[in-house]
């Protein structure tokens, strides 16, 4: 177990270093930020002064060493665009993204898993077929198109829900959309947009796993013992489908955070993704670099947690470990 964790941690550090290097290389390849900062009519002296102040004139290895050292301390420097420390800029927008991702993940799990079970149990039912066909839409349509379609339907035609922004937020330590109905209205369309892909993915995954498990001998045996369908389907079958589901859910939460960019842009959701996009337009490299590192970090941590969760859920892994120690 310990060796496993140490090995995992070591791999994680390698991944972070690689991402850090890629993020840092951005500084050299996405154009001169000085142009955007001093305006089109600035003189050579003003440009020089700005480039020097940003440390852009130092050689590459020195710049990278400085970047990596600072990043380790969580210091990604000043945003070129906002003139505040990057971690402050990201910190301000993190709650908006996390709330959005939270609601989307809850929706995906709460709807996707039961639907998966249902379609798994009622393979031939008309409802199942309908669900499976519509789920293809969720898998194949790009997020921005789904967002625009939802806006068109629920904002423009029906006029039920707002098409952009966070609306009314309440401060509960952070600005929140989840505590008032007015605020919650604003989060519905973006979170549905964001969750649709994950929802359909989960549903199809759970269905496939259920079909697999239902064919196994121990399910047949459980039925033969006269257990209720409920106990068989949920107590035995569903539980055994959960290992891949947890892996996928974990990884998908990572991509929910990373791919919130598109949803946030479509709905003008003032979260991290929108910040990242504005950073790209402005060549705000510190924000871009920090965002990349943060997303990589989130993935690494989620992967680690998922690996550890296997131990909890899958007794075979624990058994192997125990057997290894016995030798």
């Amino acid at each position: 177990m310990l060796a496993f964790i140490v090995r995992r941690l070591f791999q994680s550090i390698l991944v972070m270093l690689a991402v850090g290097f890629i993020a840092f290389s951005l500084f050299n390849f996405v154009g001169d930020p000085v142009n955007n900062m001093v305006g089109i009519e600035a003189t050579i002296e003003e440009r020089e002064r700005m480039a020097k102040a940003l440390g852009l004139n130092d050689p590459f290895p020195i710049q990278f060493a400085r970047f990596a050292g600072n990043a380790l301390r969580g210091d990604f420097g000043q945003s070129y665009r906002l003139s505040v420390p990057v971690e402050e800029a990201i910190g301000e927008r993190l709650p908006a993204t996390l709330e959005l991702v939270f609601v989307a993940a809850v929706l995906a799990l709460a709807i996707g898993v039961p639907l998966g079970v249902y379609t798994g149990l009622h393979r031939e039912g008309a409802v199942s077929r309908l669900l499976l066909t519509t789920s293809l839409i969720g898998i194949s349509l790009p997020t921005f198109l789904i967002g625009i379609l939802l806006i068109l339907t629920f904002s423009v035609w029906l006029g039920w829900l707002p098409s952009f922004g966070r609306g009314v937020t309440v401060n509960i330590g952070w600005e929140s959309n989840l505590v008032s109905w007015e605020g919650f209205r604003s989060i519905i369309l973006p979170s549905v947009t964001l969750c649709l892909f994950q929802l359909t993915l989960l549903m199809r995954l759970v269905r496939a796993e259920m079909l697999e498990v239902l064919r196994t001998d121990y399910i047949k045996f459980a039925r033969a013992r006269g257990l209720t369908s409920r106990a068989v389907n949920f107590g035995h079958a569903l539980k055994n489908t959960l290992v891949p589901v947890i892996t996928i859910t974990g990884l998908q939460i990572g991509s929910l955070i990373a791919f919130a960019i598109i949803t946030e842009t479509v709905f003008q959701w003032p979260g991290m993704g929108l910040l990242f996009l504005q950073a790209i337009q402005f060549v705000d490299i510190p924000v871009m670099a920090a965002y990349l590192c943060l997303v990589a970090f989130i993935f690494v941590v989620i992967n680690l947690i998922v690996d550890l969760l296997y131990y909890v859920i899958d007794p075979r892994l624990r058994l192997d470990g125990g057997a290894a120690r016995a030798h």
């Binding site: 142009n35 089109i40 009519e41 003189t43 050579i44 440009r47 625009i148 068109l152 098409s163 952009f164």
Partner: protein
């Protein structure tokens, strides 16, 4: 009986309350990006400047049609070539109730000149301001400056007591910096700030003590940035906002066909043009030949005549463009309507010119083009490529994001381009600015974006003279002469002014469209 009266009274009161609620005119508008702050002197950026001018005022106000009107100064006269006497408006109060006096003008001049200020250019010709009494000042310029008045609308006046009481005199560079004066406002303008949440919303309410008579009838204005154009259109269609810009060109017909929504179009001040490297002895694309065809005016003219501007207007710009023969737009001081015609589109003449210049089979060249700066910028370049191919020129297109484009064609890479696209809006609203920045070279701060390094001795001379000439007629004559030389020499290929398009909802009765492409709340009327 009494209780019945109370009920009637309550009902009446409710009606009155409902009546005032119905009279509330909240104007909600949106564009692609948020303002960068509220400090008048930090960021020189179009939408931010417009927001500042809702809140602050200068001595002079530039109206929606670009005409100049008295604001904090009631009148002015020139007492010597370098001295202007301004009489300041009396009984003007800042939002916090402080009186406006000459001292406020003086401290604003000191503050706008701090090294971290981005607005210094509007007072660059001013030597000093002398206080005569509390409501009279003399502005003394370093040289006779014919454009002084044009620059004053963006010299916003701040309150001395407020700056001192809040220790807010100093400036910090950057967008959305958290300095006191960038987050708070105390101006004399017709609107006051109620709330600014960066990237989310800016809320304004009318200033009840404003000295003027408002044209608008707003009781509240909410500005929201929406980056995605499709979402912005949807928000307008669903009635969540009353006005938005820019409307993507492909959505204009859609808005026009939707009941209750209209698209308002007009020309913008920015001129889009192409330029050529006229400096290097050897063209970057023709290494080893020792030749630079662009040094020959016949080649430049051939390029000009090979481009079918009407096709670009019709197909690429969907008619949302005004072809231009001058480097400045109507509305800019010095614009000459009778000189705005272009050389006719004539591929045969272009071929003949090329043959005459010794390039009957054309030559290779790379066109540098931005792809996210101007309306359909890359599409325009894509249209230009086959037009030039038809006369034998082998054009390679290099379209890239604006930061890379401007770095390549600009001073940072020593004008590393042979043929490029650029757009320009004169910051001073005067012809001298493009002459100085785009069409001449010699002199301090001159030719910053003259990426092809076009130069002509007489134009260099004229540009310096125009800077200091205060006699309007003489100045106009010199501007005309300079423009004529630029045209004869084909210094650049002028293309067009792109159109601006606003989407307007049914709650808006009238709005005056400024060619700046942003909304001055003074000119908004709701139903």
């Amino acid at each position: 009986m009494r209780s019945k009266n109370i009920v009637i009274g309550a009902v009446a009161a409710a009606f009155i309350a409902a009546g005032t609620a119905a009279d509330a005119k909240t104007f909600r508008y949106s564009t692609s990006g948020d303002i960068l702050g509220l400090d008048p002197f930090i960021n020189n950026e179009g939408p931010t400047n417009t927001m500042k001018s809702n809140l602050y005022e200068g001595l002079i106000h530039r109206a929606w049609d670009l005409s100049l009107h008295p604001a904090l100064a009631t009148d002015w006269e020139q007492t010597s070539p370098t001295t202007w006497r301004f009489n300041l408006r009396k009984d003007v109060k800042f939002h916090n109730g402080n009186d406006f006096t000459a001292d406020d003008v003086l401290i604003s001049l000191d503050r706008i000149r701090l090294p971290a200020s981005n607005m210094t250019f509007v007072v660059s010709s001013i030597d000093r301001i002398e206080k005569i009494d509390d409501h009279t000042i003399d502005i003394v310029t370093q040289y006779p400056d014919p454009t002084l008045l044009l620059n004053l609308p963006n010299f916003w006046i701040m309150d001395k007591e407020w700056l001192e009481a809040n220790d807010a005199f100093g400036l910090e560079e950057g967008a959305v910096v958290k300095t006191f004066a960038n987050l708070n406002v105390n101006g004399t303008g017709p609107f006051m700030i109620e709330e600014w949440v960066p990237d989310t919303r800016t809320v304004l309410v009318p200033n009840p003590n404003w000295w003027g008579t408002p044209w608008h009838n707003l009781t509240r204005a909410v500005f929201t940035p929406i980056g995605n154009a499709a979402t912005r259109v949807a928000a307008l269609l669903s009635g969540e906002i009353d006005l938005m810009y820019p409307v993507p060109l492909q959505d204009v017909p859609r808005l026009e066909s939707t009941a209750g929504v209209q698209a308002l179009q007009g020309p913008e001040l920015r001129t889009i043009f192409l330029g050529f490297d006229q400096h290097r002895d050897e063209l970057l694309d023709m290494p080893g030949t020792g030749k630079n065809p662009f040094k020959d005016v016949r080649v430049r003219k051939a390029f000009y005549q090979a481009i079918d501007i009407n096709a670009i207007k019709r197909v690429v710009m969907r008619n949302a463009a005004t072809p231009t023969g001058l480097m400045i737009a109507p509305g800019i001081n010095g614009f000459q309507p009778d000189m705005n015609d272009r050389f006719p589109h004539d591929p045969e003449a272009a071929k003949a010119l090329l043959a005459e210049a010794g390039y009957p089979d054309g030559f290779p060249v790379t066109l540098d083009c931005p792809n996210d700066r101007y309306v359909n910028d890359e599409a325009i370049c894509l249209a230009v490529v086959p037009m030039l191919k038809r006369v034998g020129i082998d054009v390679k297109l290099n379209a890239q994001t604006k930061s890379l484009h401007f770095q390549k064609i600009g001073r940072a890479e020593q004008w590393n381009t042979s043929f490029f696209m650029l757009g320009w809006t004169p910051g001073s609203y005067d012809a001298h600015n493009p002459l100085q920045q785009l069409m001449t070279l010699d002199g301090e701060g001159q030719g910053t974006w003259n990426c092809g390094r076009f130069t002509h001795p007489r134009m260099e001379e004229l540009t310096d003279l125009i800077a200091g000439e205060t006699d309007v007629q003489k100045r106009t004559a010199m501007i005309r002469e300079a423009f004529q030389i630029h045209k004869d020499e084909v210094g650049h290929i002028t293309l067009h002014q792109q159109a601006l398009a606003w989407g307007i909802g049914s709650n808006v009765k009238e709005v005056k469209q400024r060619p700046h492409n942003d909304v001055d709340l003074r000119y908004v009327m709701m139903n």
